[in-house]
Symmetry: C2
Amino acid sequence: MTNIAILGFGVVGGGVAKLITDNYKEVLRLGGDEINIKYILDLRDFPDSPFADKVVHSFDVIAEDPEVDTVIEVMGGSHPAYEYTIRALEAGKNVITSNKEVVANFGDEFLNIAEKKNVSYRFEASVGGGIPVISPMISCVGQNKISEVRGILNGTTNYILTKMFTFGDSFEESLKDAQEKGFAERNPDADILGTDACRKIAILGALATGNLIPTDKIHTEGITKIRGEDVEASAKVGLKIKLLGRCIISDKGVQIMVAPFMLRDSEALSTVSGVYNAIEVVGEPIKSAMFYGPGAGAGPTASAVVGDLMQIMQSGTKCAKPVMNKTDEHLLPFSDFESQSYIAVKGGCENCVKGAFGEVQFIDADGEIAFITAKMSEAKTEEALKALSDKGIEIKSRIRLL
Amino acid sequence: MTNIAILGFGVVGGGVAKLITDNYKEVLRLGGDEINIKYILDLRDFPDSPFADKVVHSFDVIAEDPEVDTVIEVMGGSHPAYEYTIRALEAGKNVITSNKEVVANFGDEFLNIAEKKNVSYRFEASVGGGIPVISPMISCVGQNKISEVRGILNGTTNYILTKMFTFGDSFEESLKDAQEKGFAERNPDADILGTDACRKIAILGALATGNLIPTDKIHTEGITKIRGEDVEASAKVGLKIKLLGRCIISDKGVQIMVAPFMLRDSEALSTVSGVYNAIEVVGEPIKSAMFYGPGAGAGPTASAVVGDLMQIMQSGTKCAKPVMNKTDEHLLPFSDFESQSYIAVKGGCENCVKGAFGEVQFIDADGEIAFITAKMSEAKTEEALKALSDKGIEIKSRIRLL
């Protein structure tokens, strides 16, 4: 008998309890042992829930009960998730989480304690909802020389960008629609400013490199500055705008960022629409593997959490474990990052553009000059943009190409 | 120290040896133990290879050496792969394979012996090349109620269909191009007749259901009858033709098949182009997870083989193991399978079509009558087609819709 405690009885916590109950036969077959949901920690009571008698209001009950093998932390936020996780691990309990914030901030610390205490810390649900990506990255892809892990890591922004692309809507209209459909929060900042994607690429980058880069060192741009005009211009030359998290690994070091990129149709990630997420791992000799699915939602997220539970029940600590050190030691300065850029300016002339950027590809645009530059470093691009600004030319937009 | 033996020093065998050698640091970090390639079994000698001194010509040497922990069978074909696998497992050695034919035919038997002997039998590379799909299906998705596993399982046919769709080429032209580019064998029958995809869906279906359906019981159609006219007509109504393997699971039983299907643009699988493979698992509560990548090639396949080796070295037999029984007990008759169909006929009139099929959606087609039927069983569709034939109307084409 495995006794578990669920911290937080919100949509994910409820989904976990439901999955274990509804699919008990499958779960039992895989885990090989009876599962008992012994406690559910929440501030609220749920008198009408079938799990009403499991609800407790103090974490002490769980931490101090030696029968609890595994704690499932699905509260979200850094605190008290951090403190509860530490206490559970120190008490010799496995911990499973769907909480990307706490993994991105403290994953290194948790994995160290888990190692010391010979228990597991698992976080499949923290990236990509139900999509299996953390576990395959560790167990199936790790023997490759990974040169990049990148992905569409946020369903809300992908929905908004898909809406702008498909219907020609503005950012504001598309955000409003996403909010009405329940795909965006009333306060959508964590999504549209790139914070959520930043945490996820920090986690994926740590799996690929062993280094958990502090999120405040990750260059992060959201999608709020993308205009309908940019979407239209990019479509004209067969490009689609996606918010990407990227961690690029070379002999020189690591480049990690979240920003909108324009993708060619031939890129697998360009085909990922709506609220879907996808993560692509590029390396040798595998070439490329992509993991795709709904990136959020109670059901998919619960699937990932219970998948972690099954793996702990089957293999205990004998599964491959990631190692993370929190460091930005190998991080290259963002000013060195090289890419082509799409740029739109108002005023000036094509020759002024060529004067600043050299040869570019002009895109037909209404009342603006839009163009795609050669591959240049951030530093050089910024310099050329400044040269245009200095001439009184207004920079309307800049989006990098993948 | 783990000693391994590689059976077959072709492209995959060579790729495995190369990956272990080139990425030794990554492999060692994951596996936690030194790896020694002790033997390579091949009929040929390779005097110029760095592995020349490992080559042996008799399997006896390997079977009788108690130091060999793991045998990597990358020979292909049913025999002697079957006999070698049995002997290796019986001798208490783990076996890893990339050989879909031998897994589809004898996977149940191998897994039974492995269980008895407390060793592992793993076959990640048998489906989808380097794409992690077998392991995630077992470890990450198994707790779901799976309602379907389906995929583009053959890169050669997907390349041909992509070529027909993109350039309007005929099947014959596209096949010739695929052969010239090395994507199709000189004898392409196993690919274009669906045999290869049939073995792969048998394996995936067995993972999802526990039942390994004999491949001769799987309804299998290839792509040889698809005409340029069909590709054109389908494009007109926003559909793309893909060769799919499908295993559909319901309370009534299992339906399993390989056939060309027309997919709407909104289907994730419709975006998979060229030689790429993708496998989609549909279930509750995960909704959908898709695994995507190059489905073949020495590098990706070697990545999957070595991934299996890492997992054996980490977890031994403590990983989740699939269970398979060879049976068609739960297989529903194909005549019950229900789908919409695209049909093209020559002669007759729209009213004759309606007489046989009821209400249909007509597609504008040159010199033919093309239409899409309502959802009907195979039996009913065949009956309606016969009614048209009996009137002297020539059936030019029929392709199901997903």
